[in-house]
Symmetry: C2
Subunit: 111 residues, 2 copies
């Protein structure tokens, strides 16, 4: 059972360009760790740490393919960005509502 990662960690994960690129690449299709390292131009150890971080915050998941147990296949986790989108939308909507109220207030005062 995957604990829903803190929104903190998820934002931090996506704050790094290399990790966002990984997410974009995994959006196209699942890929092996080495493939991602090559694509982004990072050494394997660096990529490994990025992948661990992305996994920890629930953005991606790891699978061992049956044909070769050495490789790890990473894929995007569906719905992993729901929390972020929800936070962004809530904040933005609240502000829009307040803006409306503020404008009404100003107009009332201005009369």
């Amino acid at each position: 059972m995957s604990r829903s990662a803190s929104i903190d960690r998820t934002f931090a994960a996506l704050a790094d360009p290399a990790r966002r690129r990984v997410v974009e690449l995994l959006g196209q299709r699942p890929r092996r760790a080495g493939e991602l390292a090559d694509a982004i131009g990072l050494a394997a150890p660096a990529m490994s740490r990025h992948l661990r971080l992305l996994k920890q915050c629930g953005l991606i998941e790891e699978a061992h393919p049956e044909f070769d147990a050495r490789v790890r296949i990473y894929s995007l986790k569906t719905g992993a960005m729901a929390d972020l989108k929800s936070w962004l939308s809530r904040t933005e909507e609240l502000w829009a509502a307040q803006l409306g109220a503020f404008k009404a207030h100003v107009e009332k005062k201005g009369k």
Copy 2:
């Protein structure tokens, strides 16, 4: 005219809990710098830097009130999170589409 800040900087800005809290507070109403510092429990200089960062990436804007030119009033910038939401949605939707394609592929093969 405000240059659209890189999505990089915006994600990084929201990766910090204190800055996200600022954004939440500003979602309720515009506030003074000192008010934000008190609310979050940070010294003024620290808050000042957070606000500069948020301003640089286009999430908030600064205003000098006419009644006292010493204070700075910060408020949320409407539509500032559109880029982020768009990136999240695009990535997620692309992945959903690929998932569908993959499932179809597997079923075809499995026949």
